[in-house]
């Protein structure tokens, strides 16, 4: 599928003008003692630097039209995504590896599938932005799912150990928790997909409309991305949970952190 969107040119001045809205945020924070002025400033500077840098990287990759560079960028995003997400899953022992595997599988499976089904051509112009969205959403879903799993295993360690005492394997003992963790990881995107177009316009659609695309094309591309992301977050959350749940146990099906006696 090729969506033709007319190109628009955005000047530095226009970007600078948008900072007026940031000033409103900073003033509101100061007036109400929300103490966020410094964070707002850091957010503005970091977004400027990070997006400008990735803009140059993307320009380079588009110009080179190299599959190897696309793969390298996606690999970097997967690794950084896993590093970032592990901080949100502190109660999961060695969460990095399950997260890394989850993001890699989610990215490979969804990008592979959209290419195989002919939804997008295998070119950097499609793979880079779609890959970024897939990995970003997968990271959030996996982190939320593992965070919930870690909390539940900690809170329900007595029940888990009682189940182990009946001869259950570690996988069987945490099965009731997997359902809730998976749900936690996916529910945000499912809910936003339900309300899309009613309560908010998703970013891709807004971007395409601003760039002058036909609204029908903008809607169709947005739908494709939402469906791709639904698949990606479910894969990511499920793979992360599958690999992480064994980290709570020893090979002899014992809780590494048993309940207090």
């Amino acid at each position: 599928m090729i969506v033709a969107a007319s190109s628009i040119h955005v000047t530095i001045g226009e970007v600078a003008a948008a900072l007026a809205l940031v000033a409103i945020a900073a003033i509101a924070s100061r007036a109400w003692h929300a103490d966020l002025e410094e964070d707002i400033g850091i957010a503005v500077v970091r977004s400027l630097i990070q997006l400008t840098a990735i803009g140059y990287v993307i320009t380079l990759i588009f110009d080179q039209d190299s599959a190897a560079l696309v793969l390298a960028l996606i690999t970097v995003m997967v690794v950084f995504g896993a590093f970032t997400a592990r901080h949100r899953a502190k109660q999961v022992p060695n969460a990095f590896w399950p997260l890394l595997i989850a993001l890699a599988v989610a990215a490979a499976a969804t990008l592979g599938l959209v290419i195989a089904l002919g939804i997008f051509p295998a070119t950097p112009r499609y793979l880079v932005p779609v890959g970024g969205m897939v990995i970003g959403n997968s990271m959030t879903a996996a982190a939320v799912a593992l965070n919930r799993l870690g909390e539940d295993v900690h809170e329900q360690s007595r029940k888990i150990e009682a189940t182990l005492a009946l001869g259950a394997t570690s996988s069987q003992a945490v099965t009731p928790l997997v359902q809730r963790s998976l749900r936690s990881g996916m529910i945000t995107l499912v809910d936003s997909t339900k309300t899309t177009g009613l309560i908010f316009f998703p970013g891709t659609m807004v971007g395409m409309l601003l760039a002058g695309a036909d609204p029908t094309d903008a809607v169709r591309l947005q739908l494709i991305l939402l469906y791709v992301l639904l698949g990606a977050v479910s894969i990511s959350a499920l793979v992360a949970i599958t690999f992480a749940r064994r980290n709570f146990f020893t090979p002899a099906h014992q809780l590494r952190e048993p309940p207090e006696s």
Binding site: E161, A162, L164, A165, L166, Q172, H253, Q254, P258, S261
Partner: protein, 232 residues
């Protein structure tokens, strides 16, 4: 000898919970007694490999438990924890859980009856039972595994006196009607006296006395209690 615990040490979060502990538990009704935090519940968990010692070994019927498959061991040496921890569903769902995992048949009603619960409880929501009733469901679901040994961790600590008396009567009935050996962990010396023929006293993570109940728990002869070393 049913269990021989040999020079066992166990740490948790950097704190030594059991220290070179030596104990023996014979076939029949035994009790591990001691104050809170003495390590007696931890000792119980080592018997069916819910935890493994840092050093030393636990021998069950002549074989190191670490050489046994932990899942099979837990079906044979079944532990009932201190507080009820039932799965969601009916009483029947809970009693059926263990046997279904093991792939063997069971009779839920007779297990409930053996645990001192009316078999009519079978279809009731487990979450809506009293704590005492839930504790009996915990016992019934352990019995459904047809264990050879039952490990009971403070089985009446969460119960009022009437419920405690009822559970104790159930355990005594179980002893009369089955050949299941029991190891009851309790802080209550009198309960140990009522339920056990053999007592191991644990304090500060080590055994201070062990032997026949009337010898170990008799106040008259307490000064002459054999030490752990003497007993082993």
């Amino acid at each position: 000898m049913l269990f021989e615990i040999q020079k066992v040490s166990y740490s948790r979060a950097g704190k030594l919970v059991l220290r070179d502990l030596d104990a023996r538990l014979p076939v029949g009704a035994s009790s591990v007694v001691g104050p809170s935090g003495s390590g007696k519940s931890t000792l119980l968990r080592l018997l069916n490999r819910l935890a493994d010692p840092d050093s030393g070994r636990v021998v069950y019927e002549g074989k190191d438990v670490c050489e046994r498959d932990p899942l099979e061991l837990r079906r044979e040496v079944s532990l009932v924890p201190q507080l009820p921890a039932l799965i969601e569903g009916t009483v029947h769902d809970n009693v059926a859980y263990g046997p279904r995992l093991a792939g063997h048949s069971f009779d839920a009603r007779s297990c409930l009856e053996l645990a001192g619960l009316d078999p009519a409880f079978e279809d009731r929501d487990a979450a809506k039972l009293s704590v005492g009733e839930q504790q009996r469901v915990m016992l019934a679901r352990a019995l459904a595994l047809e264990p050879r040994v039952l490990l009971l961790d403070e089985p009446t600590s969460a119960l009022d006196q009437a419920a405690r008396d009822a559970v104790e009567a159930t355990l005594l009935g179980l002893r009369a009607r089955t050949s299941i050996s029991t190891v009851v962990v309790t802080h209550d010396m009198e309960q140990a006296r009522r339920l056990a023929d053999y007592v191991v006293r644990v304090e500060g993570g080590t055994v201070t006395a062990q032997g026949a109940t009337e010898e170990v728990l008799s106040e008259e002869i307490e000064p002459a209690i054999a030490t752990a070393e003497d007993a082993t």
